[in-house]
Amino acid sequence: MRAGQVTRQLYICRACGLIYDEEKGDPDSGIAPGTRFEDIPDDWECPLCGVTKTDFEPFEPFEAPDIGEVVGFNGGVVVVGAGIAGWSVVRAVRSIDATIPILMITACSGDDYHKPQLSVAIGQNTDRASLVAKTGRDQANEFGISLLADTFVIGIDSTTRRVRTTRGTYSYTACVIAAGARPFRPPALNGAALFTVNHIDDWERLSSTIASSVQTRAIVIGGGLIGCELAENLVTKCQSVTVIEKQDLPLSSLIPEKAGQRLLEHLNNIEVDFLGSSTVTHVVNGDGCSIVCLETGTTLEADLIILATGLVTDQRIARSADLRFDNGLIVDSKTLETSQKGIYALGDCIAFEGRPSRYVEPISKQAKAIAYAIAGKAAPYEHREPVVRVKTPKLPITIEGLVQPEADWITTIDTEALLVMEQVGRSSKSKVSIGR
């Protein structure tokens, strides 16, 4: 604005929301167009609700975000969630039906990215744009679907087949829940400032925090798969990395003790401090940092705390639609249909025999089974334990089959560089290989 330039100002009635526009005035009350608000007589009343001048204030418009629009969706496939699982379903449905209306509802922007990359990307000089294969909007256009971004599903009514969202209620003929799982936060850590790496938005916050600080002391709570991956990738970026784990060895739920020892040595070699048999009781604010307090009374200073204590599936949707649930949505093992007709689920939010399957590998097969089931055709899913590859690049770890805690392990290869161990359980075989 140039100095001395007089601009038109708007005033809003705090009582009823009427806007006084100086350019238009209020001719019905004898206020000529062009009358400055300050020149209006004090006994003037709001033409709508009758309050006086003192109840007006300068009007500053709110900014409404651009959230896309739902073009003519009135029944069809509703997909809840826009992670790998959500987009896989869209891809699978579109590959057999080019026209069926699809509405995708997501709490985020719907940007399509490969989540397993996130823990590795922490150690690289990369940004969001290079991780995102396509923005949600572009991907939606490509598949010819409606995308409701920044929208939460509040509930599903399986009787009337309607999904209730924070942007309205939509009817569906088939609904697919691909809502994922969320980081499990131990109740003791409620309110503490913690980072997680379960979504690209979380990743972005974490990586920009790391980038903006000079010397970062990072603490990772949880020494499972994600904790170990993060630790290895964080050491290149941080001054120190400490992993705090309840069990005595890292990755102890997935690999035998001997392999755990080897992983522990590796972590020590790359200068990750691994604190086994340790439980965090609480986190307090310190002087410019956080202080992590352990059960033993030990305290650790941290500039950055990352939570890697596993995932849990939110139960709101299951509760609202009366879906059977056991650590995840219970689904038909072939069609992935939940306990309610017309509602399917896949990915991180489901569980087979009470065991959640939180790996990417089975998702495309699950998506295909669902797409076919929706189309009234059959492409039955067969659940197999996926091969798990731990992304610790300096010491690759592969786990095949379902590890059974009670079965014995046999060492088949044991060199300095490679350890392979196998386990034969009652019903299945599993194999762990660590190193090259």
Binding site: G17, G50, V51, I154, R167
Partner: protein
């Protein structure tokens, strides 16, 4: 039943009796007045006193056993015949809620007259509820003085008030950030009531703009100071109670569809949203509302989302049901004297009164986002 009875009318503890009496008064006294209330702005204070005497406004209060299902069902029976009175019943119920929850003995002493409908009081929390969640700014401002507060400002469109009545309101205290006070505003000569423009419905709800100039608030009037913890506690009850209004309007609409079934069923079969579809939906919602009412002070964020969700569903259902009732009744429902067209305007009010559908969604989105970040 125990000590909380304190000499209250025993018959009020029989849910069935209360509902029967309330339904009877609503049908015999209110229904014939509904058109006058809607068209002429007649304020049915005498009928409301009768309803109060029958126990319509007591159920939700702790001293009567916190029977939210009863209070809501009573409101449903009233709204079934007159949405305006149903809405005022909500205003009256939440005003009672504020008085009781204030813990202020001076206000609690006034509660007996209030629940009996001997005195009438509403709620001016539309603006503050929106202000506290960030939708708009607080309209009343308070200034602390040694013996109380001085309040200035205007509140538009406060229902179920009149000279000699009262209502719960909130004012911000600008000296301190995030500080507000809530008090029972007695509408005596110090408060100016100004006429509102004519609305498309709800004309009989005695709705006024209130103008306060240096209104002194003494400690006998204080409901809460500070306000935020109080609002956090009562908000689920505030919102849940409102469902009685929408459920009743919906039930009335279904009644009107059934009423013409013999005469028009042969053509109405071609319509959507028939009573056979709507009644089970309404019953399911009612069950959910009752369920939530049984533990409304639990304080969890998840429960609050459930309450907002059910309130939004009631709005959506009442819009569908009233619209469909008019299609079912055809021209006879389009007569200005017909309750069927009136209910469409009532349902629109169910959907826009604070919290409106859009406010509910705004708030649910906020709560879900916060939950995600936690």
């Amino acid at each position: 039943m125990g000590s909380f009875l304190r000499g209250k009318d025993l018959s009020w503890f029989d849910d069935n009796q209360v509902l029967k009496d309330v339904a009877g008064i609503a049908e015999s006294k209110l229904k014939p007045l509904a058109n006058r209330i809607d068209q002429e702005g007649f304020y049915p204070s005498a009928v409301m006193a009768e309803l109060g005497e029958a126990g319509a406004y007591c159920g939700h209060l702790q001293r009567y056993g916190a029977r939210y299902d009863l209070a809501i069902d009573a409101m449903t029976e009233i709204s079934r015949h007159c949405g305006s009175t149903g809405f005022m019943s909500w205003c009256h119920d939440v005003c009672g809620l504020y008085m009781e929850q204030s813990g202020n003995s001076a206000l609690i002493a006034r509660l007996d007259d209030h629940v009996r409908g001997t005195t009438l009081g509403g709620t001016g929390l539309s603006n503050p509820m929106k202000a506290l969640t960030g939708i708009e700014k607080m309209a009343l401002k308070a200034e602390k003085i040694s013996s109380g507060y001085i309040v200035n400002g205007s509140l538009p469109w406060v229902s179920h008030i009149r000279e000699g009545g009262y209502c719960g309101v909130i004012a911000s205290v600008p000296d301190k950030a995030d500080h507000e006070i809530m008090f029972l505003l007695d509408l005596d000569e110090r408060a100016q009531l100004k006429e509102c423009p004519k609305f498309s419905g709800m004309e009989g709800t005695s709705t006024w703009a209130i103008e306060l100039r240096d209104y002194f608030v003494n400690e006998d009037q204080v409901i809460a100071d500070p306000v935020r913890p109080f609002i956090k506690r009562v908000r689920p009850a505030f919102v849940l109670l409102q469902t009685g209004f929408g459920l009743g309007v919906t039930q009335g609409a279904i009644d009107s569809m059934i009423e013409v079934e013999d005469a028009l069923g042969h053509v109405n079969q071609f319509l959507h949203d028939r009573p056979s579809e709507l009644q089970p939906e309404l019953d399911r919602l009612k069950t959910k509302v009752h369920e939530l009412g049984s533990d409304i002070f639990s304080g969890s964020a998840e429960m609050l989302v459930d309450v907002l969700d059910v309130r939004a569903q009631v709005s959506e259902l009442s819009l569908r049901a009233t619209q469909s009732a008019l299609l079912h009744q055809g021209a006879r429902g389009y007569l200005m004297s017909s309750p069927v067209q009136r209910r469409i305007r009532e349902a629109h009010f169910v959907a826009i009164v604070t919290p409106a559908i859009k406010h509910l969604r705004w708030e649910m989105s906020k709560l879900m986002k916060a939950d995600l970040a936690a």
